[in-house]
């Protein structure tokens, strides 16, 4: 059974049809590349799945059961984690604090509970080790490189053993060396059995880690192909509209 299914999902903002009748299937242990030009509807699609806003019409199913999210927290409870484009980190807090933001580990006596800094630092350290990142839990995010920030954002998704991770342009704002680091992180997530949707503008990244690629144009899905059965040239054509559909 697919972990995620979208059937005829549309999202309208007034007269703007940001998503039009999109169908999508995602299996566990699979990386799906989601490509398209600016305004093609990729980010809207991710936000609908992540519970930022409900679809205007259509159905979303997780493990076969229909779901309706009105808040990101509800999607997270159903195993949907998101790495946002701007990474959504608090620069003024430590890596561990960011990983646990909104779901802090606490200890205490009776009703008096306080933060368990040691447990959070230790667990965050484990997650960074699993991701083979040298990010240190107690460092402030402000002092970190783009790759380390990425590791923090990804480590956060691993707290809850999610079913799928949606990544919005994770390689957009970082250096070439760090891109390789992030692609490795994505492969490790996949190997641990997670399903991943990778939104990217960068053709080489998509061809390096994705199993399938879905192309969107003007709110519609225009193609979906196994990565082995397509080429960067074809995908580019589909994105720009030079090739109508495939």
């Amino acid at each position: 059974m697919p972990v995620l299914e979208l059937q005829g999902v549309s999202k309208h903002f007034g007269a703007i049809h940001a998503l039009n009748e999109v169908d999508l299937v995602l299996e566990s242990g699979e990386v799906l590349g989601l490509m398209g030009d600016n305004g093609a509807g990729k980010t809207t699609l991710v936000r609908v799945i992540a519970g930022n806003f409900p679809p205007t019409s259509g159905e979303i199913r997780i493990d076969g059961a229909p779901v309706h999210f009105s808040k990101p927290v509800e999607a997270r409870q159903k195993g949907v984690e998101v790495v946002y484009q701007d990474l959504a980190l608090c620069n003024n807090l430590s890596a561990a604090a960011n990983v646990f933001l909104g779901r802090e580990i606490k200890k205490g006596i009776g009703p008096i509970r306080w933060l368990d800094h040691a447990a959070m630092a230790q667990r965050a350290g484990q997650l960074f080790t699993e991701l083979k990142s040298e990010t240190r839990p107690r460092d402030l995010v402000r002092q970190m490189s783009g790759g380390q920030r990425q590791a923090v954002a990804i480590a956060r998704t691993r707290l809850s053993k999610p079913k799928m991770v949606l990544m919005d342009e994770p390689t957009a704002a970082i250096s070439v060396r760090q891109v390789a680091e992030v692609l490795d992180l994505i492969r490790r997530l996949r190997d641990s059995g997670m399903a991943i949707i990778l939104i990217s503008h960068r053709m080489p990244d998509v061809f390096a880690v994705c199993d399938r690629v879905t192309v969107m144009r003007r709110g519609r899905k225009v193609a979906e192909k196994p990565i082995a059965a397509t080429s960067p040239e074809e995908v580019t054509g589909l994105i720009t509209g030079a090739i109508h559909s495939a």
Partner: protein, 347 residues
């Protein structure tokens, strides 16, 4: 090592830290990086210098008692202010909250209500004003500056109307203990004593310091100031926490007003006029960042102390007291500038 770092073999794990030489800060560096640390040093220096220059008037137990009591009212307000500033907000209404609280508890005392009820009435008034501020800011999305500026005018005018524009001092039987709260002192012997407001300030500073360090709420307050969108996406109840910080600020101002009324033995509707400047200055001088994401309870304490010790020193040095505002203003601007310089160096 350096050759490796410059040209790593494929697949090698090169830690970014080893290249940039970022080390975890030790506790000494962390303390030295805090503005409150340098304010503390400055405060100690001023006290030492003044003790030499004016041994008979500055370095006396009486002057210590008076100055520490005076800054305690502002320090307590500044504690509440740090929570608001940490979320990236501002509360300009705290001075007027003092006025409305003074009048409400004054009226309660005049109608012969018990001291605890009068305290409750005062705290209740501060709670309500803070709640209204918070709801307008968090749920209607208005800017904190404009909302609390409006509340500055509203609360003051309500205080004047409620009081019938007169001073309230004909207190009933509840007054004895009520006055003790703000006017009482802990005698340490050798004619050395600590005022109750100072003791309250010390306890509240410790409590708030623990809240920032050890509770989920404290962390959420800082997270909202650091990146509100990120906090929201992480499941932090941003709106609720925002309401709560304005309630905390309202309660802090209310408590300061109650102590002040108890100390002076009368309630006037003008209590706290322009104290918002002092409370904000104390928080900012102590290291609170007006852009949000940084706050320190100890900073509010030491910031308030610095302002009042400087005022005290200027008076003793014979400087016309009308110059005090100039010095407070200069210190506020200098503190913001220092914060900006430190921020730029960190990025």
């Amino acid at each position: 090592m350096s050759a490796n770092a410059a040209n790593p073999p494929p697949g090698a794990d090169v830690s970014i830290e080893s290249m940039l030489d970022i080390r975890e800060q030790n506790w000494l560096q962390r303390i030295a990086g805090a503005q409150a640390f340098w304010v503390t040093i400055a405060l100690i220096l001023i006290c030492v210098v003044m003790s030499f220059l004016q041994p008979d008037s500055f370095a006396t137990s009486e002057n210590f008692y008076n100055t520490t009591r005076n800054f305690s009212f502002i320090g307590i307000m500044a504690l509440g202010m740090t929570a608001v500033i940490a979320t990236g907000g501002i509360d300009l209404s705290v001075g007027s909250i003092m006025g409305i609280v003074a009048v409400s508890s004054g009226l309660a005392l005049e109608t012969n209500l018990p001291w605890w009820f009068s305290v409750g009435v005062g705290l209740g008034a501060g709670f309500i004003v803070g709640l209204v501020n918070g709801i307008i800011i968090a749920y209607l999305g208005l800017s904190p500056f404009v909302t609390t500026l409006g509340m500055l005018a509203i609360a003051r005018s309500v205080a004047v109307v409620l009081s019938g524009n007169r001073m309230l001092y004909k207190f009933g039987s509840g007054a004895a203990i009520f006055k003790k709260l703000g006017g009482g002192e802990l005698d340490l012997g050798h004619s050395f004593s600590l005022s109750y407001p100072l003791l309250f300030l010390v306890v509240l500073t410790a409590v708030l310091g623990l809240v920032y360090k050890m509770t989920g709420w404290g962390r959420h307050v800082l997270a909202i100031g650091g990146n509100e969108q990120a906090a929201l996406l992480s499941g932090v109840p941003v709106k609720r926490v925002k309401v709560q910080v304005y309630v905390v600020s309202g309660l802090a101002a209310a408590f300061a007003a109650i102590l002040n009324v108890g100390w002076s033995g009368s309630a006037i509707n003008a209590l706290g006029t322009s104290y918002e400047l002092l409370a904000i200055s104390a928080a900012v001088i102590g290291g609170a960042n007006l852009m949000g994401g940084e706050a320190s309870a100890y900073g509010a304490f030491i910031g308030a102390a610095l302002i009042f010790v400087i005022r005290n020193s200027l008076l003793m040095a014979g400087v016309d007291s009308n110059w005090q505002g100039t010095f407070v203003g200069l210190f506020l601007i200098a503190a913001v500038y220092l914060g900006k310089v430190r921020g730029a160096r960190r990025e």
